[in-house]
Symmetry: C2
Subunit: 255 residues, 2 copies
DNA sequence: CTACATTGCGTTACACTAACACAATGATAC
DNA sequence: GTATCATTGTGTTAGTGTAACGCAATGTAG
């Protein structure tokens, strides 16, 4: 829903494939917490995942990256589809006339939202500090939420979020998850907190250090993080070549 | 495409969601080889995956199980969606008028096949001996293929098959793959051949035995397989409770 | 009844994991 | 300036799991 489309009545059926939508679970990491980007639809109390539709000549992946560009300002976002949500009743709430009134002023074809949608779930990993959360024309808010503080979301979005998190855990040894969630340089404790947040359990500091350095995917920089309390920790960055090489076979061993 | 719909001109758009299709990669295991079920469309030389469309009140999963019931005769098939294929050009071949002529006699609305489809990929695990491969109204053959002997398939079906196989490998420790591909009772060498076929590499016989029994998911029966050459191997069956219990955490350790 | 490929069980060296110890560091409090 | 103290970097050890191999038992084929 780019700016050029807002000038006249917007007719989604001319631009998007019917029945197909996508929802993005955008993960960030900040202050040792996993965050997720949520938006609030106009006229509704519940929050929901940023979503959109697939253009008639787009791949689903391209559509998702387009949506994320609009919501985050980011261009090259790490994206993975993880599940298709196709319960025929998953859109019931949305069809209620009441809940659509608020967006009718947006010059959006309400009929479009009444059809049945099968939604492709994507998860995205972004560097928290690079994101500028931006609402779209049918939302009046868009912001980060602490994963632990997310309550009832619209439609089946809690389910989608849960499934995304499960996928993230399972793919931790197969996808460059650390690389995409952390800034270019980071400390060992920060990397460990990220792993702990994703896995939902504590890890032994010393064993974590040995194991992660054993993969040979990190470069230790000749720098420390100063200005922070206590002993200054070493700074690291990922060795991208070796990281991707190692991920092909999967990082060995469980957490 | 049940029998009742064949009596008059079949109008898919009244029964199925537009733009959405599904393709099933049906795996079987026979004579120590992984097999895949393929169908040949009328009037085309290439083979392809069994597929179908999603009814206007069906989940994608239900639609896939309906398709599989028709192709295999089986009712309760183990099914997992694994990827969505949404390249806007993935259906180009199919739109050629020539390739649609042959099925036009089937009283099927050719226009239906000219639209763009986003396809949901499912993989299915079935017990080879229980399957009765059955062509549908637009196919003139349906049969098992040895995985190694599959050549160029229609559309992007080679890609779908490859992605299914990758998924199968990654999920070997998280899904009841052995249980669904093997008959109720089996020998240790048979189970090992299955693992080897999926992983694409040889495993040490003795270490495999120790590891797989160590999970506690097998029940050793008081029976041996006789009539076959050489020493009679013990028969096993899965302990379903313990199998599912162990899969929740994932079978530990790599192959 | 002998040969032999295959099965079942065992052994050993090595790598990895879990659990814990200890000294070094650097901002903070006084 | 200096003592405090949470935190970091590195090390140790016992236990567990893995890889690579040995050997006797078995059941069909010849």
């Amino acid at each position: 829903m780019s700016a050029s489309m807002e000038s006249s009545m917007f007719t989604p059926h001319k631009y998007f494939l019917a029945h197909i939508s996508l929802d993005c679970v955008v993960f960030g990491f900040h202050e040792n917490q996993l965050k997720v980007l949520l938006a609030k639809l106009k006229g509704r109390d519940e929050w929901g995942l940023p979503g959109g539709f697939v253009g008639i000549q787009e791949t689903a992946e391209y559509a998702a990256s387009r949506v994320l560009k609009e919501r985050t300002g980011l261009d090259q976002v790490f994206l993975q589809q993880f599940y298709v949500f196709s319960d025929p009743d998953r859109g019931e709430q949305l069809k209620e006339v009441e809940s659509l009134k608020a967006i009718s002023g947006s010059a959006i074809d309400i009929e479009w939202f009444k059809q049945r949608f099968i939604s492709i779930g994507f998860y995205a990993l972004v560097e928290f500090s690079q994101v500028e959360p931006t609402p779209d024309v049918i939302s009046d808010a868009c912001q980060w939420w602490d994963l632990a503080e997310v309550s009832k979301l619209m439609l089946d979005h809690n389910l989608i979020l849960q499934k995304a998190l499960e996928t993230l855990r399972l793919q931790l040894n197969y996808q460059p998850i650390g690389y995409n969630l952390l800034p270019a340089t980071f400390t060992m404790p920060e990397l460990q907190r990220l792993y702990e947040a994703i896995l939902g359990k504590q890890l032994d500091r010393r064993n974590f250090h040995r194991k992660i350095t054993g993969y040979g995917i990190l470069k230790k920089l000749n720098e420390r993080r100063t200005g922070v309390a206590h002993k200054a920790p070493d700074l690291y960055s990922f060795d991208l070549d070796k990281y991707h090489q190692a991920l092909k076979e999967g990082l060995q061993g469980g957490w």
